[in-house]
């Protein structure tokens, strides 16, 4: 399956292991990634906050570039925040033909035009809806048996439900659960799994931001998770990169590894933790690496 691939900014910046692991995992799932390297940042909601039309135009340009990728079935992203920001702009663009025309007018100097109805799916949605859990199960080489994985959804990929197309037929806010289970892992539920990681206010109210991250990580520790998995690199920044600071704010040791979704998938598909960039995390995913070593050891 060929997709117009939007990796986002942070996956190529402060979480390079995300972009890297996606590139490793894609061929194993028969996904051909055509990177949208001409596209710009989605604005992560901040540009929309500054000027809505500006955010809509910048994202319409990305959508138009995606529609130019020959033979691509859809656009795919690996960042929940990108999904949320893009879905918000797409909702307005798709809702009103005259507004869309107006935005396309700004894009016309580049010869670009966005045509209503682009399908844009986060890797998580694509895994469940396009590849399918059955197929995913059949591709597993190293089932995550006895690995206790806590899903961390974040906000942008589960709310608002109507905009993101979440309903009884598309329980997208449960997909991480399904994927962990399909890979053979044990799903660990905890209070904060669909709450905010706190990242958006890290510069505005650092204490509240880190308290959010620290509480959810603490909940996961209490629920005896071995690791968390998230489809959002910004959540990863607050949960992993900032974890030493979050520990201070909540006053407890956390030591909770946080994996990116493609890393967890890659692990089950037989890739090694190092190939997936797990050595680059601030919180060393020792439990996961020990687990994979013990599985390999047992197989030998």
């Amino acid at each position: 399956m060929k997709v117009a691939y939007w990796p986002g900014c942070v996956s190529r910046g402060f979480t390079p292991e995300l972009h890297g692991s996606m590139a490793k995992v894609a061929p194993l799932l028969d996904i051909e990634l055509v990177e949208l390297d001409r596209a710009c940042c989605t604005g992560a909601g901040v540009i929309a906050e500054h000027n809505q039309e500006l955010a809509d135009t910048l994202n319409a340009r990305t959508f138009a570039l995606a529609q130019q990728v020959d033979g691509a079935a859809m656009m795919m992203n690996i960042c929940s925040t990108c999904q949320g920001a893009q879905s918000e702009c797409q909702e307005r663009l798709d809702a009103n033909a005259e507004y869309r025309e107006h935005i396309n007018g700004t894009l016309s100097s580049e010869g670009l035009s966005y045509e209503k109805g682009l399908t844009n799916k986060n890797f998580l949605w694509l895994l469940v809806e396009e590849i399918g859990l059955e197929k995913l199960r059949s591709l597993v080489k190293r089932p995550l048996t006895n690995l206790r994985v806590g899903p961390f959804y974040g906000c942008y990929i589960v709310r608002p439900r109507r905009r993101l197309g979440i309903d009884a037929e598309h329980p997208r806010d449960d997909y991480l659960h399904h994927v962990i289970a399909a890979l053979g892992g044990t799903v660990i539920e905890y209070a904060g799994m669909r709450k905010c990681c706190g990242f958006p206010i890290i510069t505005m109210n650092k204490e509240a931001s880190l308290k959010q991250a620290g509480r959810h990580l603490g909940d996961a520790v209490d629920a005896t998770a071995d690791c968390l998995v998230t489809p959002c690199p910004l959540c990863h920044l607050n949960l992993d990169l900032q974890q030493p600071l979050a520990e201070k704010v909540v006053g407890r040791e956390l030591d909770m590894p946080v994996l990116h979704l493609p890393q967890l998938v890659g692990l089950a598909l037989g890739l090694e933790p190092k190939e997936l960039g797990m050595n680059r995390h601030v919180v060393r995913p020792t439990s996961v690496i020990d687990w994979s070593a013990s599985v390999v050891g047992a197989a030998a």
Binding site: H50, R61, A95, G165, H281
Partner: protein, 440 residues
Amino acid sequence: MAETHDRPPEQFTLRMRRYDPESGEAPYWDEHTIELEPHRSVLEAILQARDRFDGSIGIRCSCRQAICGSCGVRVNGEPALACHTHLDAAKHSARDGVIEIEPMGNMPVIKDLIVDMDEVHWKKIRRVTPWLLAKQPVPEREYLVPAESMVDVTQTIGCIQCGACVSDCLAMEVDPLFIGPAALAKAYRFVGDPRDDQHFERLNDLAQDPHGMFDCTHCFKCVDACPKDVNPMGQIMRLRRIATNDHHIVDQNNGERHEAAFTSLIRDNGLLWEAELLPRSYGGNSWFGKFHPRAGKELLSSLPAIVRALVRGKVTPAGALKPHRIPKPDLRSIQSIYENVESREQRSELNLYIAGEDEEPPPPEVPVVAGVVAPVAEMESADGAAEGAHSAPGPEGTTKPPDPETAAEETSEGRAPEGADVEAGDSGSSPPGAEGSTSQ
């Protein structure tokens, strides 16, 4: 719906959170099975349980038709008006077939399902001066304002003060002093009102408050919680937009600097440069921002995380010092979009709550090919092929049978109040036909 109403009564089991702080006992769960038609409300079920089994069950209610906002509770973990939630839907969303009812969150419980709205919600509402600070001199008769300028605030006027958004606010969960979604939406009701004379003062107050407009975490909880589509988070973003863009308020919480730094870094590089964003958010939006004492202090406090990131190779010094950029011709296009949009006389905004959606047939799955618009005939023949093609369905209320000929006229009806003139202003810079657009 008629069929639904004809369905005979069924048994429903409620699991209610009971708590009487005065008793000194811990909270506990209480189960009762009631019998009602499936279309009846959770509130009716609670009242039946109270009447038949336990007169001490505490619940607040009044109008029973989703107007008074009294019966806010949590149904199966989600905020809802008990009178506005059908029993069959509640049973369907229950984990184990038992409808779980709890008091709202973020507010102290007075008894069972009744929370202390005065202690939290109303205190916060009072905090934002929820009345008009009228322009002087006050006219002898009514103020005359263009109808469209009032249409803009109808969304916030729709608030019924039920507290559902307060109950679910994740920022308030960690910072109880956060002014919160309902009160900030109420603040926009006056900031968006042309008769109010204190827009700057209101905005400056809410921007400078460490628990004000910049304390919202963008979690969308309030958007989903609101039974009236007030979109409190959207109103908070509008407050920020007006405060920073129109009143140039520079706040002590880094809100304005963060927005300016983010927006200009994307203009200059096309992609985010995280290592530069943080110091600029603290120290000011220029390359020199990192040398400001505020940035230095922040850098120092973040040292434990920075050192570990460097040691692990997550961040390399070269990667931190050099931005990643998109190709030059594309960057020029991005910059030209910035210039184009930001040079407009009036900033425009499409509010789908007011504008509604085009009433068109659902689009066929548009193949991602070469940016070429599929020929009309092809589009028409693809009727019904749209299944699964929408990753972002729009708001409800668009189920009317499609009629392309009248679609354009119908668009302007939107959800504006009866009699309101919803035409956009005649500024040439507004997007044509964007009826819900405002210049906020």
